[in-house]
Subunit: 192 residues, 2 copies
DNA sequence: CCTATTTCTTAACTTAAGTGAACGAGTTAT
DNA sequence: ATAACTCGTTCACTTAAGTTAAGAAATAGG
């Protein structure tokens, strides 16, 4: 588990053993059961998450319906919108599977950032990278049909289709569960 | 023009007059004519943009069709995906209007970041903020219909609808220009 | 100033997604 | 063990977006 974290960090900066131990001593790892809620709509929170194992999702409740918009799996980092601007959350976050997460608070990050400039550099690089990557994902979503989005997902995150309930996948693809069912049937039809 | 920039920066950090002069002496402001291309597909680039005045757009050419996916106007910052990972660009960037831009290179930013930690802090805060904001935009896009997206745009960026050609707006909303025309007619119908 | 081109709209038709309902399989709770 | 739910699928029907084509309006270029 620690290795997952340090492998990830090593993509951006290099840490001494001392620094690694300092991080471990902060004791940030948390286990969560499938279905556990990490953040509710309306709540304020200062917590950011890094997924070491498992899967968490972001969802809204719109006119009584759950709309899942994002999944975070191994090596994914998530700072909810409400953390940045200290407002009540517009969405929920919960565990799709039993998960092991690294949970940090913005206060703690601010402290670490000011003590270790190297760490702030990593945060900057990481969020710049995620911003550019998310831009591409958004662009792909805009420029493709539901069917193309599903095919795209099959290529890029085939594991998600196995791990996650269909009705959650559907809203992730921007459609109704019935449409996803139909679309899958249509694709099978084509192959044969 | 300088004020636009320093007003923006002051949201994140405070600068001394000396520091302001240092920034101005870098001479980063560039004027661009409507229609000018800032980045082409396949090109590598190290340039990031901050829009002081005007409007630039990101677009793809997919099966011969232009697909516009993003607009950047006054006080918006853009670091293309290809800058972060030094790969050929998957999209084009061009000016929708005559524009005044601040253009920086990643080399220069790296240098400034290492000399002035304050500046790196600003970059981190900015990209974290943009990441969270873009996440919300993406979520709204996923959870709403083309018509809702248009109504949403009317509320949040009414200026865009005036400044930008309809066919570019259409792909920004994820639909065909004909569908946008129809959808606008439908909305007018409802109001009366 | 007029022509050429681009942009926007409209229309008719096709295709796919939304909606409401029903069903069976699998799960959870009592 | 059975009742109550959840989940995925299918069906019939409605609605909206995609597609192709044509024409009007606005814009740019010579």
């Amino acid at each position: 588990m620690e290795n997952t974290l340090f492998d990830f960090i090593s993509k951006y900066i290099s840490l001494t053993d001392e620094e690694k131990n300092a991080i471990l001593s902060l004791d940030l790892f948390r286990s969560q059961k499938k279905g556990a809620t990490l953040l509710e709509k309306g709540q304020k929170s200062k917590h950011s998450y890094f997924v070491l194992k498992g899967c968490i999702r972001v969802y809204y409740i719109i006119e009584g319906e759950e709309k899942t918009t994002a999944f975070y799996t191994e090596m994914d980092a998530l700072t909810p919108h409400c953390v940045a601007n200290n407002t009540p959350s517009e969405y929920f976050i919960s565990c799709v599977e039993d998960s092991i997460l690294l949970v940090s608070s913005s206060d703690m990050e601010a402290e670490v950032n000011s003590k270790f400039p190297k760490f702030e550099t990593m945060c900057r690089m990481l969020s710049e990278e995620l911003l550019a990557k998310q831009r591409i994902d958004f662009d792909e979503f805009k420029t493709s049909s539901p069917e193309q989005r599903y095919q795209n997902l099959l290529e890029k995150r085939p594991d998600l289709i196995q791990r996650v309930p269909q009705h959650q996948l559907a809203s992730y693809l921007g459609i109704q569960p019935q449409s996803l069912s139909r679309l899958r049937a249509r694709i099978l039809e084509k192959k044969s």
